[in-house]
Amino acid sequence: MAAASAVLQSEWTKIRTVSSTVWTLASALVVTVAMSAALSALLNATFDDLSELERATFDPTFVSFSGMVLGQLAMVVFGVLVVGTEYSSGMIRTSLAAVPQRAAFLFSKIAVAGALALLVGMVTSFLSFFLGQALLGEHRTTLGADNVLRAVVGAGLYMTLIALFSMGVATMLRSSMLSLGILVPFFFLISQILSAVPKAKEVARYFPDQAGSKIMQVVPEALGSEKAPYGPWGGLGIMLVWVAAALAGGYLVLKRRDA
């Protein structure tokens, strides 16, 4: 078996030598921070127009992550491309000839890409939080307040898990286009729409993004959202199960199918 450190080093070289890594991760950071800042400023300006319920459950932490709805899509693209370009370029055959142990190959790749996503996710969430609070004026909270640090760290974890989930799906589907064609509409449209439809939302709350994003809320039922049958860590746990399932599925496909 090829030495694990050697394969990790190889995967790091792969990821740092393609331009898509930089632009997807930069987009994830910029889009999330910018959109969160804009919405924080907007809510600060229009706070008095909010309904009484929304004012009572106002969650400044959660508000400062509101750009993640869009920013996570860049994380999806990052995760998909990390795996998908191996297939679209034909590099996968060269890669597997060099590292024939499928588990070593896949999990080294995922470890490297996951670590990078975690770093960018954490930077994004802290930046987003501090900038958002600065713009929320008198409605702001602080990192030292109850559960706020958990939510900020959780937001970074959420972005990482979104990237990992996308890597698992792309490994299963073995195609960037197909994976993006499914994941982007799913996270951006389907999950959002279903979460607003009665009955359907009972199911939608178990989707990876819906469950995982609970970790970013400090106030339960923030901004008048509905009560979920799980807490913040429970929600992240549900998301973790999705990620584990996607990665396990990806590994099985890689192991069984011809490259």
Partner: protein, 323 residues
Amino acid sequence: MIELEGLTKRFGAKTAVDHLSFTVRPGVVTGFLGPNGAGKSTTMRMMLDLDNPTSGTVRIDGRHYRELQEPLKYIGALLDAKAMHGGRSAYNNLLCLAQSNRIPERRVGEVLDLVGLTAVAKKKSKGFSLGMGQRLGIASALLGDPEILMFDEPVNGLDPEGIHWIRNLMKRLAAEGRTIFVSSHLMSEMALTADHLIVIGQGKLLADTSMADFIQRNSRSYVRLRSPQQERLRDLLHANGFVAVEAGGGTLEVDGATTEKLGELAAAHQIVLHELSAQRASLEEAFMQMTAGAVEYHAHGTDIHGGGDGPAGPRWGETFEGV
């Protein structure tokens, strides 16, 4: 040494590789020959453990590919020229492969130099021509300085200069005592480079022989005759038990006879000959004859002979003597 034992690959109902057993011996160039669709690439992918065999095994120096520690140091392969990430430079494409097998980074520069790509090392590989892509693929195969090298149709689509370069490279590598396994669908290409020959058709082993033996056994020799008195000559040959086939341009071809015997026979009956020559069918023809029944994709056109045990359409290798 690579050993294949009963290697079989089925895609649904179609058997692409059918109980293939042979050994690729060290120190020689082994040609892997077969018409398009014969299963050459599938076999090579199974040798590298990229495709899972339906049954059978491949062993490299006695071990499965997946058990190899840093496989690029044992076996280097060129499967298809474009199996690299186009957005990455040639240098970085090779670097990540080198790192995965703990090959020192200076080796990347060495192999780029060896294949003549030093000048474009920092360029993204998606801008490469087919020939440059092929060179990059060969550089990746040579990266680990392996004892065994595998090339799948290395001259496909190359210009004459590129073909010449690859031929010389393979000869040089074999002269260094390496095991070379190279596939082709062109017999003429093999005749120039291979010492040993493995021929497959429709996934089945058709021949496993030295090049010299193959030439000896498979090339058909015949005598070509041309005469202004063609009708008389033909009758005479038939009367003496020879089968003369009209071969166009007023010539007759006779199998299994010597020029001496036919010349004397014509002289005895005072037939004027304008041509009397011993001919040898080319290796290409011998190969086509061998794989005639096992060709996957027939051109449907002039069915001259019909019948035969192969599928409908003209049988390869027979058309040349008919027209």
